[in-house]
Amino acid sequence: MNTKQTMLLAVGTKKGLWLGTSTDRQAWTFTGPHFLMHEIPSIGIDTRDGKTRILVGVRSEHWGPTVVHSDDLGATWSEPESGAIVFPPDTDAALARVWQLQPDTQDRPGVVWAGAEPISLWRSDDGGSHFELNRGLWDHPHRTEWAEGYGGGAIHSVLPSPTEDTIHVAMSTGGVYRSDDGGASWIPRNVGISAGFDPDPSPEFGQCVHKIARDAQEPHRLFAQNHGGVYRSDDNADTWVSIAEGLPADFGFVMLAHPRRSNTAWVIPIKADVERIPPEAKLAVHRSDDAGGTWTRLDVGLPESEYNVVLRDAAAVDTAEPVGVYFGTRGGSVYASANEGTEFTEVLSHLPDVLCVRAAVVVA
């Protein structure tokens, strides 16, 4: 990491947002809680065009959900008066929670995607100030058959392709869908992904895919952490193959891909659907450098015993060299690694449940 660079680490919890900065990824200075007593399920850090905008999904149990943004690293926040995400009247729907805020690629400045509950996809062309409902997915004939998982029904992964008009989304429950025309139309892409909770273990759609990530160099290669199963696709999600062998468990929520290097991904296994703790209560990250062929256990600096899990968006990578890995637990601990997970340091502790973690090199 360049000594003049500043790393921003954003931690969204069940009761507020913490923001940390560091110039060496060893010593961190945190502010917070921002939005005390508000749930922060989604964070997007947009660093395109040499500027930094932090987008945050905020939700109050009493006062509802909204999206705010800051252009000064959290010193001040702006909220559009009419709301950034508002369901059109004809939908007879109301926003419940924003699960994902994903800036598009460098070639599409200003475009930001949002995944929300109820299951819906949104696109902004003004940097996240106002979003428009994606009608192609909202009007999809499958929508009435998508269902809610325990945490609610939402699109939680949005992966715009850097090379074409392809977008992949994943939802719980519904599975993976792909658009090849910029979001106008969508097709389910779940062949090979199991649905162990369904009488039909291999339906066309309805899987509870927990998180997907795209390979940095091969846009048609994707990784998926499923509700039981870890998978890779080499054909743009047309088919998926298991890459769970070598992991202590195939359940989990997290899936991260390296921002530059091909074939590198991280997962954080959980023992099982019905036993949601780290395997043997020993928290560990696992990294593959060969697209899931083999996995390396990474637990240096992590606690001897841990019964809390890591949720789907409570983990992130940065873009520094070497890549940093960050995650937070439902027990309120946040761990950071400046060397791809080889060693971790606890940088925050005793927070509320960590729901979302994001990190980015920013202009301070």
């Binding site: 007593m37 109050s60 149990e61 009493h62 006062w63 509802g64 909204t66 909220e79 008066e81 009419s82 709301g83 508002v86 369901f87 009247p89 007879d92 729907a93 109301a94 926003l95």
Partner: protein, 90 residues
């Protein structure tokens, strides 16, 4: 209208607002008047369908509007309208 602390920044920073309307009006009409001036406040109270949020309670002259016909409940001139966050959360 009595505004709870968390919403006062979105309603003129005032704990109590006097709403100038003619004659008896429904709670919905009252909120529409308020919401026109304070849009973020309105979104905190009601979702985009106009439904009062689940854990927001409205009282007119001391009575819960959910027991008075909901947003069709009438507010008489001089009535006090209370907005109170219900007991929720952990």
């Amino acid at each position: 209208m009595v505004i709870p602390g968390p919403l006062q920044p979105f309603a003129g920073d005032a704990p109590v607002l006097e709403v100038d309307v003619e004659g008896p009006v429904s709670v919905r009409e009252l909120l529409d008047v308020m919401g026109h001036e304070y849009r973020v406040f309105n979104r905190r109270i009601r979702d985009e369908r106009g439904v009062v949020r689940r854990y927001v309670n409205l009282y007119v002259a001391g009575q819960d509007v959910r027991q008075l016909g909901g947003l069709d409940a009438m507010v008489q001139p001089g009535d006090e309208v209370l907005i109170i966050a219900s007991v929720a959360g952990g």
